[in-house]
Amino acid sequence: MKKIITLLLTLFISLSAKESEETPYTLGEGLQVASLPLYLGGYFSLDYKRKPNEEKYEIEDFAILGYGSYEKISYITELEFKKLYVNANKNEERSVEQDTALHVERLYSTYNVNENYDLGVGKYNSPIGYWNLIPVNVLRDTSSIPITSFIIFPQYTTGVNASYNSYTDNDFRIDVMLQKNSDIDPKYNNYEINEHYGIGFTYAKNNFSLKFNAGVFQIVDYYNEDDEFNGKEHDGGDGDGDEDDIDKDFETLTSSKHYYALLSAKYDSDSFQVMGEIGSQRSKDDFITKYAGYVQSVYRFDEKHMAILRAESYDNQVSKIAENMAIVGYTYRPIYPIAIKTEYQFHSISNNDTLLLSFSMMF
């Protein structure tokens, strides 16, 4: 493991040194490898989480990006260690985990048909909602992401993506997602899926944008190891996570197609931003997630300091959990590609209030 990281860092540093002789390197914008159509970059996040009976330190993401374009074809690859190091203390029991598997987060290529149309193939972030397009700690407002962004739709799609953009004064965009095959890296998705058909419409005028997504997908297996959701979706009925409950949920979840819809709106001025999303997911017979939504406001004091307030609510029929949350956060960016964040989550379910601290960087 250490060898892999050392190798990657050595490669990056040596490329940085070579590059600096020609053009100045800007942190957060990557660097070009010689004169090739290849740019390298990456990001990482160091997190600390504290709950009433749990404390955790972790290297949450460590990823390397490689991308470039030649004529009308562009490509991007993103390889990531998801939980490189986790040191947890839960109910006075300490554990250390190291997941050294290198995951394929994205691997796709896009053909630019003309100024309005793009056609892509590979594994990509499903262009749904606002948060899923940039699922990287350093680039988002808070360390956590709203639950809406990972229980309603598949975060990644492996297949074809077509998009249309009007590029008029009032932008109008359509995204189409098609998957009828396995995931390139099935372990790196919130759902393991083998089918996904989705469409999205985005309208933007000046500082305002409105987005609607809808689609259907078929689950093969069900993960959700995301800590923000605390593994609740694995826990059926009584929420204690026993095997019987998990089997029951698994059957419910994989027996039919899942339909989702998500409505998103955002107003973004120079000093403040208000955004909200509301979505739902159901099978043919019943709701899986009746609703999940949030409203968030961000106030930028200046270039470096911002405060965030978010209210979230959801009702999941499988885990039988309905919860409300209030999240108060503060983010300091000494320079934009470096973020030091703190947030406190107030949960309506007892013993779930959480303190999150993180240091993240894009390079």
């Binding site: 957060g28 914008e29 990557g30 740019y39 970059g41 990001y43 990006l65 991308y67 470039g68 374009s69 004529e71 009308k72 562009s74 490509y75 991007i76 630019n112 003309n114 100024e115 397009l133 940039i134 990287v136 350093v138 680039l139 953009n165 009007s166 590029y167 008029t168 004064d169 009032n170 932008d171 000046n206 120079d270 930028r300 270039e303 934009y336 590609p337 894009m362």
Partner: protein
């Protein structure tokens, strides 16, 4: 007497305002088709990379240039914080910021010679070797 003085004062104020309203233009190679303001904005934000099968090459002035600042505020409608945030996010999405040149003269020469090149400058620096796509003045 007082009325005349006030009229004279108002006239001077209006004329002064006119004389300080600098004008700027977005220029492209002569082979470039007409572009809407939405398309120009998309080109400088690297959302459009080809038009009529010609690769577009947007060119910025250096980061501290006053004309660049006016272009970003009045055409892109983005302040410095938003642009920093935008380009860091674009790095994650696999897009690079436009190339930069140090002077308006350098941009004009490049635009004149290279198909698909597009830049901006003060209207006083323009001649008929380049095509004017859009003109704006200080707000």
């Amino acid at each position: 007497m007082t009325t005349n003085f006030i009229k004279f004062f108002l006239l001077c104020s209006v004329l002064c305002n006119f004389s300080y309203a600098d004008e700027y233009v977005i220029v492209a190679n002569k082979n470039m088709k007409e572009l809407s303001l939405g398309e120009i904005k998309a080109i400088f934000l690297k959302k459009i990379s080809f038009t009529n099968d010609i690769k577009v090459i947007p060119i910025n002035l250096s980061s501290r240039d006053a004309v660049r600042s006016k272009f970003e505020q009045q055409i892109l409608k983005m302040n410095l914080i938003k642009l920093k945030s935008y380009w860091t996010k674009q790095h994650y999405l696999g897009r690079r910021p436009p190339i930069t040149m140090k002077s308006q003269e350098a941009i004009k020469t490049f635009v004149k010679k290279v198909d698909g090149a597009i830049g901006y400058m003060n209207v006083n620096n323009v001649d008929d070797s380049v095509k004017i796509l859009y003109k704006w003045s200080d707000e």
